[in-house]
């Protein structure tokens, strides 16, 4: 099972990212946990500069933009 973290201080783009990730999980019946990280100190531990960030199993995958559902799917099935 994969552990997904979405890093973001609560802006619109971060919420959009969460929504896309949850939709992909539901549609493709992928088993994963989704955690929203909003604490700035916790976010900075990943050494990123722009939010939203998609972290899968502690690996930073997409940063600074909202991913498309296809991208998320590809990353999760990899």
């Amino acid at each position: 099972m994969k552990h997904i973290k979405i890093l973001g201080t609560g802006c619109a783009k971060c919420k959009k990212t969460e929504e896309i990730v949850r939709n992909v999980l539901a549609n493709d019946h992928i088993d994963a946990t989704v955690e929203k990280v909003e604490d700035i100190q916790a976010i900075m531990a990943y050494n990123v500069l722009m939010t939203p960030v998609l972290v899968i199993d502690e690996q930073v995958t997409i940063k600074g933009r909202v991913p498309s559902p296809e991208e998320v799917r590809t990353l999760l099935l990899a």
Binding site: T9, I40, N47
Partner: protein, 324 residues
Amino acid sequence: MFDWLDHLIAWLVYDTIGLDATTHWGQALHFFFYDTVKILLLLFLVTFIMGIVNAYFPIDRIRNFLSRNKLYGGEYLLASTFGAITPFCSCSSVPLFIGFVKGGIPMGVTLAFLITSPLVNEVAIAMFIGMFGVKTTVIYAVTGILLGTIGGAVMGRMRLERYLTPWVQGVVQQAKMEGAYEEEKLTFVQRLPGVAREAWGIVRSVILYVLIGIGIGALMHGFVPTGFFEEHISADNPLAVPLAVILGVPMYANAAGVLPVIQVLVQKGVPLGTAIAFMMAVVGLSLPEATLLKKVMTMKLIAIFFGTVSFFIILSGYLFNVIL
């Protein structure tokens, strides 16, 4: 550049819908359609071009470059320029700030980046070209970049690190140079679909603001008599610029929403410099921004930051009024 569009919209509004070109509603509707289509076209084009530039200057690379190179003062100009080409999102300003100081980039250089980023960006540039033409846009962009450079350099000399919140001071003390940055190896053609999708994403995210801004602008265009503002805010009134800036600082709107209104203010007699100073204050500084920065800065530092930037915006306003 957009004559064809002007004719097309005139045909649509006056001939097809049948509104009279001399009525308030006719003028307002023509303005609304013409500006909306023109701005959306420009927005997509400019964000697309900036997206290509950006693909070659990703933010991590910029950070690492600034972290490793000391350029005898040139780093302020460089940081400010990078701030202009990087797409701006107010929610990223805190992670950016910490990421920069964590990489050992001096506070002043970081602030230079942070000042310019909301002032000059792809949305502002596209809107500016559409509303005021290329020449004014270039002057605006150059002024914005210089404002960030000088503002950052001035604040760099004030030794402001002691006014950061304690945990950020800890970050500064442990700052270290960033290593080489691993980037995705993609050819120019491989990058294009992603860039186009990003550009469309940016356009889509501001469409609503553009429509609201142009809507307000269109109503003012149709209904507020020309010269209305001249009586109240003229270039001769030396206090007009500082007043416009003080009024604009607490307000928050992005460039997409505020520029259509600015354009109409200028048409109705507000001097361009005063209007631009107002716009810079609205997009560059705001109460929400101050709230975000409270996570990393003490109130004293926020006050110094806002004060310094406001001061330079006021100066630019006077400068614009003289040269434009």
